[in-house]
């Protein structure tokens, strides 16, 4: 489906810049001061002579060399400790060690310098194979999820994961292979193979996707990029016999082969409750040139700005927008279109229930925009401050947006005008709960405004959960 709703819970990439180490000048200053080793070394220059990693089994040492090389550049004890800490974080980030402990000791042995230090990392590797088992109960469906993971498959932080979900109605699976470049964990390559099924009651549509994808992630300056090719066999069908004819017409099989590119700049201090920083993500997808039945160009962006105000309150502004251009005169598929509305986008409206519809089934649109203005404050009287209470925020919001189809040929002026007509907007207040660092729950009181006929509204209390939110 469209970009506005995220389909999978992809693990969010760790933020590279927080851990990135600025390249120090490699100026070796061997100052041979004859001082007793018992002397306090705090502000004195030191030389890191040896860095050892103990407890390695199948991990290749060349991989770790890149991660810990910075420690050699430290020139005083504080620096050594800082850099050792950074190195420890970098090692843990590889996801191949259960524990990493750092020992700093004075050098011993024949070649030991008086101010020489040895840094020892004691690591415990994760088991060769880990498994998980879950049961899930959803609406009218129960499923069993089996997961298998082979971390550090070939000794260089490669990871193979397999997930199989056996449900009462549908089965799905995913197999993925992840390979980072040694020394540059942010540059990595992923291969995926999957089958997923989704039901979209707002469109009376069910979709089964079977596909393969290859993905390349790499940072470039302050931006991070993702290049992806995806080949997917999509099977669409009506969820019920009573589905509208417009949805019925979309039923059947299609093959999509698409190249996509995502660039993002994220300077926020937290993904869920940021108090400062900004996020810009631009995504573009080109389908059809590499084969398949679907051909279109899809552009999509997301912008979020955060600013801290008085008393720990935060003002946050976001803007989303996107456009889908069909190529070659083919109409676009309902599964590629954009959808808008719901408790994490334009609040006060039903889930993806804005815009073109037919007999109560929402058909999505080819262009959309949505904007939001939020004022986040801590809970009144700050119960549970510094602990449980910090998982919650109250917020006041003003959301607006529009979604429509574009009749290509009218020119850009007409398009802009169309998007500016009949704007849906809503305001309200509510409580937000953070779930880990990836998702959040919201309970809001909403007042939808600018409602157009055919929209499904949710006037009053609305509950929602999501990983992406306006």
């Amino acid at each position: 489906m469209g970009a506005v709703h995220a389909k999978s819970l992809d693990p969010l990439p760790m933020h590279g810049r927080d851990l990135g180490v600025s390249p120090d000048d490699l100026v070796e200053t061997p100052e041979l001061e004859q001082e007793a080793k018992q002397e306090i070394l705090e502000n004195k220059d030191v030389v890191v002579q040896h860095v050892n990693i103990q407890g390695l089994g199948r991990t290749k040492e060349d991989l770790l060399g890149y991660e810990i090389s910075e420690v050699f550049n430290a020139r005083n004890l504080i620096d050594v400790m800082k850099k050792a800490h950074v190195a420890r974080q970098r090692l843990l980030r590889l996801g191949i060690f259960k524990e990493v402990e750092v020992l700093i000791d004075t050098s011993e042995g024949a070649d030991a310098l008086p101010n020489g230090l040895d840094v020892i990392f004691e690591v415990t590797e994760i088991k060769r194979l880990t498994g998980s088992y879950n049961t899930m109960v959803g609406n009218n469906e129960g499923s069993m999820v089996l997961g298998l993971k082979l971390p550090n498959m070939f000794g260089r932080a490669e990871k193979l994961t397999f997930q199989f979900s056996y449900g009462t109605k549908e089965t799905s699976y995913g197999l993925s292979f992840f390979k980072p470049q040694p020394g540059h964990f942010e540059r990595n390559f992923t291969l995926n193979m999957y089958k997923v099924t989704g039901q979209f009651p707002w469109s009376s549509l069910k979709e089964t996707d079977r596909g393969v994808s290859a993905e390349l992630n790499f940072p470039l300056g302050v931006t991070s990029h993702t290049l992806k090719w995806e080949g997917v066999w999509r099977e669409l069908g009506c969820l019920a016999r009573s589905a509208s004819f417009a949805v019925r017409e979309e039923s059947g099989h299609s093959l999509k082969s698409a190249l996509s590119h995502t660039v993002s700049i994220d300077s926020r201090n937290s993904a869920i409750f940021p108090s400062r920083g900004a996020l810009l993500r631009i995504n573009q997808e080109l389908a059809g040139y590499t084969g398949g039945d679907a051909s279109f160009l899809k552009e999509d962006f997301e912008l979020q700005l955060n600013r801290r105000l008085f008393w720990d309150s935060v003002l946050s502004a976001s803007l989303w927008g996107g456009m889908l251009y069909p190529i070659g005169g083919q109409p676009t598929c309902i599964a590629d279109k954009f959808y808008l509305g719901g408790p994490t986008s334009v609040r006060g409206f039903g889930m993806y229930s804005i815009g073109p519809q037919s007999e109560g089934d929402y058909l999505g649109g080819e262009a959309y925009w949505a904007g939001g203005l939020h004022l986040y404050t801590p809970l009144p009287f700050r119960p549970g401050k510094g602990g449980f209470g910090d998982l919650f925020r109250t917020h006041f919001f003003l959301n607006a947006g529009n979604l429509c189809n574009l009749n290509y040929g009218e020119g850009p002026q007409a398009h802009l005008q169309k998007l500016a007509e009949c704007i849906r907007w809503s305001y309200g207040a509510g409580i937000v709960l953070r779930l880990g660092n990836i998702a959040r729950l919201e309970l809001n009181y909403c007042v939808p405004m600018g409602v157009q006929s055919g929209d499904r509204i949710c006037d009053g209390v609305q509950f929602g959960a999501g990983i992406r939110f306006l």
Binding site: W233, L236, G237, C238, R241, F245, R248, E249, S251, G252, H253, S254, L255, G291, G292, D293, E359
Partner: protein
């Protein structure tokens, strides 16, 4: 749908007259449609023409998946979607159009029985020849069936369909039959139809019924569709009254309207 709701819907259906924009959907005529689907679609078209109900025929590559029962053809009338001849006959009857009102109980029983004979033997034989005869499947059925799709998907869908039909054939006991036995069944069926028709213009004398539409749809399609060999058509050609029956319906209901 509950009984009450169904009754309500059929009431609405009865209340609404047949609209001008009624549409019949089938797979793409030139490149995609297969013998069995074409026959079923022609049967429905013949039936609607006999009733004097206008319908526009539209080809869609995904017609099979659009159909609520997964079977070809289906009609879209007003807000309702009805697939296959049997339900379509019911549907038009609810709107006050019927061809079999003049029959007595025994005749109606016989008409239904002969319709099932056509479905049970002719349609199954068509499916068998399309998907279980390796030459026909490789030269005609698989390429045509998968023509709207791109490369890897076209193979998958064609073999998936073939596998499904073969499983069905095994389930109904046709799996072990040889092609010759299937042709023999077709002959037997045609023999029965020919006997029943005798020298009458239609199966129940002067007026056509849905049985005539169904028989016409299948026989005419078999006679006019080229296959890897002409054996199937030859089997029908040996019954001269069936041939003239097909010609009669074609002339009465199809030719004068197109000219």
């Amino acid at each position: 749908m509950s009984l009450a709701a169904e009754a309500f819907v059929s009431q609405i259906a009865a209340a609404e007259p047949w609209p001008e924009n009624a549409t019949l959907y089938q797979p793409l005529k030139e490149d995609q449609i297969l013998l069995s689907d074409c026959a079923s679609s022609l049967a429905v078209q013949a039936y609607l023409r006999m009733c004097g109900l206008p319908v526009q025929v539209v080809g869609r590559a995904n017609a099979e998946y659009m159909s609520p029962s997964g079977k070809i053809p289906f009609i879209h009338v007003g807000k309702q979607v009805v697939s296959e001849l049997g339900p379509i006959v019911q549907f038009t009857k609810a709107k006050g159009h019927s061809l079999s009102d003049g029959l007595d109980d025994v005749q109606r029983a016989e008409m239904k029985a002969y319709m099932e004979l056509v479905n049970n033997m002719l349609l199954t034989a068509e499916l068998y020849i399309q998907w279980c005869d390796n030459a026909t499947a490789a030269e005609i059925s698989r390429p045509r069936y998968s023509s709207p799709y791109s490369r890897p998907l076209s193979y998958i869908l064609a073999y998936q369909k073939q596998w499904e039909v073969r499983r069905k054939m095994n389930a109904i006991g046709w799996g072990g039959k040889t092609l010759e036995q299937v042709y023999e069944d077709v002959s037997q069926c045609c023999q029965a139809l020919s006997q029943r028709l005798g020298t009458q213009p239609y199966f129940f004398n002067k007026q056509p019924t849905e049985l005539d539409a169904l028989v016409f749809g299948h026989l005419f399609t078999i006679l006019t569709t080229p296959l890897t060999n002409t054996e199937l058509a030859e089997r029908i050609k040996s019954y001269s009254n069936l041939l003239s029956f097909c010609r009669r319906i074609e002339q009465t209901y199809f030719e004068d309207k197109s000219s």
